[in-house]
């Protein structure tokens, strides 16, 4: 029983680390511009399909293909901000959020037109059937890989945000864009970068996820919603909260699926959102809710 619980928890951590990557992308944008990016999942899906084409059709080496994908997806996100979102000067916050929804639909349509709606197998460097034994529990090479990559990207993001000039500028813009500008920080470029980083994070989640879920135009819908749930759970404006929220959600979901009901596993995330919003609306690590004036 205990071993089984540990096994479920480990599986949960592996899935959770992918939720974290999605949640971090959502949180970065929410923090810097208060925009909830509904296109996050579809930008990631686009990236994953791009990687698929690069590897299977064009024969690019997988690692190089991943890097190219992250760069292209980052440009796509930054481009959406710079060329479309930013141009809508008079749009309210809600209006801008609806624009991301529109972008999501456009991207989704484009993916279906270009790649078709049928399911494809995404080639993976890591094997799902090769497993490692750790005491009584097992972990597949693929899960272990996702877990490690997930944590690697989290650390990289932490370094970027906390220890670099650009990260400092990002934090400044998120706290007070007006003051940041008055200090010579190019807020638009910083926001474009935030969009790029968030989009690349989403694509990396897609690439890690695709070998398990198979590739189809709607593959990121569920992970996006879970990442959103994780972000709410951890606190929408807290990157560490997104990490904790993603991992906790992954583990709870996995334990729930194992011991209680697989059928209601997907519902659980939303039950958690409702619970969090009722009991602690700022999330686990979020700051106390204050009105922005």
């Amino acid at each position: 029983m205990a071993v089984l619980a540990l096994q479920y928890a480990l599986n949960g951590l592996a899935t959770g680390s992918l939720y974290v990557l999605v949640a971090l992308g959502i949180v970065i944008l929410y923090r810097t511009s208060r925009i909830l990016n509904f296109a996050h999942g579809d930008i990631a899906t686009f990236g994953t399909f791009l990687a698929f084409t690069l590897i299977t059709r064009l024969g690019v080496a997988p690692l190089l293909a991943y890097l190219l994908t992250l760069a292209t997806t980052g440009l796509l996100g930054a481009g959406f901000y710079s060329l479309i979102l930013r141009r809508a000067k008079e749009a309210t916050l809600l209006g801008q959020i609806v624009m991301t929804l529109g972008f999501a639909l456009v991207l989704n349509g484009a993916v279906v037109v270009v790649w078709g709606a049928d399911t494809k197998v995404f080639p993976s460097l890591l094997s799902e059937t090769k497993v490692y034994h750790l005491g009584g529990i097992v972990i597949s090479q693929l899960s272990l890989g996702s877990l490690i990559m997930g944590f690697f990207l989290m650390v990289l993001l932490y370094l970027l945000v906390q220890w670099t000039k650009v990260g400092l500028a990002m934090r400044a813009v998120s706290q007070n864009p007006l003051a940041a500008q008055a200090l010579g920080i190019p807020t638009r470029r910083v926001l474009a970068l935030a969009w790029g980083v968030a989009s690349a994070l989403g694509a990396s989640a897609g690439i890690l996820l695709a070998p398990v879920t198979l590739l189809d135009p709607f593959m990121m819908l569920d992970p996006f919603l879970k990442g959103f749930a994780a972000a709410v759970l951890g606190g929408m404006d807290s990157p560490p909260g997104a990490v904790v929220g993603g991992l906790v959600l992954g583990v709870i979901e996995s334990l729930f699926g194992g011991f209680v009901s697989v059928a209601f596993k997907a519902t659980l995330a939303f039950a958690i959102i409702v619970l969090v919003l009722t009991v602690r609306p700022e999330g686990l690590l979020g700051r106390e809710y204050k009105k922005r004036v």
């Binding site: 670099t164 400044a172 007070n176 008055a182 010579g184 920080i185």
Partner: protein, 258 residues
């Protein structure tokens, strides 16, 4: 005649039907302390916002140290050497006083991602240099006690000083102060007068001051410009301006003259 540090000609901006600025001409010489006064809604803050690139004027010229300011983004203007404080404090509320000031050193940093990631000696030297400068500014403004406190927890008067310190950390040529004394106690205001004089004399930074406390203005300004309804109605030394009939009318109303 040499070139002025700041030259504004015929500056006009409308919001809907209201001309917030209607053909404002003014110049500021290097090393000067000019006060900008006027009743509420006279256009003082609007003028600052135009100079800082937050608003785009409809018409007119703005030249600073030989650069045309029109069409420049706020961050580019800050880099040219104009820094400002805000009427309603705009700090990074969740950072400490020290971090707020360090952030303004941002534009003076030369090191990149890899220097920071690898903690190279170049990065250390830069970091030490900027921290030393920030500490000097904290000393200068007597803010050592607030150094590691979250600015949102500080009293308003100290927050105002942190904002002033942050503006100084940019090492500007021109400092725009928007009501620096509002919310300060009488004692804090007295200290502020000395600090503003020090900034002018020791640091040699030119200052344009928007201020409602006329006693404070008349004590330190070398020249006073009076705005009303978006127009310059008087200009001169504090004593001259105080006697000007248009100024008395704008402040106290028509009857006070008779």
């Amino acid at each position: 005649m040499g070139q002025s540090l700041l030259e504004v000609k015929d500056l006009t901006i409308r919001f809907g039907g209201i001309a917030a600025l209607a053909g404002v001409d003014l110049t500021v010489e290097e090393g000067e302390l000019v006060a900008l006064i006027g009743p509420n809604g006279a256009g003082k803050t609007t003028l600052f916002n135009c100079l800082c690139g937050i608003y785009r004027p409809d018409r007119g010229e703005m030249r600073f140290a030989g650069h045309d300011l029109r069409g420049l983004r706020p961050d580019a203007i800050a880099r040219l050497g104009i820094s400002r404080t805000f009427q309603n404090i705009e700090l990074f509320r969740n950072m400490t006083a020290l971090d707020n000031i360090l952030l303004a050193r941002h534009i003076h940093m030369r090191v990149g991602f890899w220097d920071a990631a690898l903690a190279t000696s170049r990065w250390w030297r830069e970091e030490v240099r900027h921290r030393a400068r920030a500490e000097e500014i904290l000393d200068f403004l007597d803010l050592q006690a607030a150094r590691h406190r979250r600015v949102a927890d500080l009293p308003i008067g100290q927050q105002k000083l942190v904002e002033l310190g942050r503006a100084l950390a940019l090492e500007p040529k021109l400092l725009l102060l928007d009501e620096p004394s509002s919310g300060m106690t009488a004692e804090e205001k007295e200290d502020l007068v000395f600090r503003i004089k020090d900034i002018l004399e020791e640091l040699g930074i030119t200052i344009v001051l928007v201020e409602h406390d006329l006693k404070l203005v008349m004590g330190i300004a070398q020249r006073v410009i009076v705005l009303d309804h978006g127009q310059v109605i008087a200009e001169g030394t504090p004593a001259e301006v105080q006697q000007h009939p248009d100024v008395i009318r704008a402040y106290l109303g028509e009857e006070s003259l008779s």
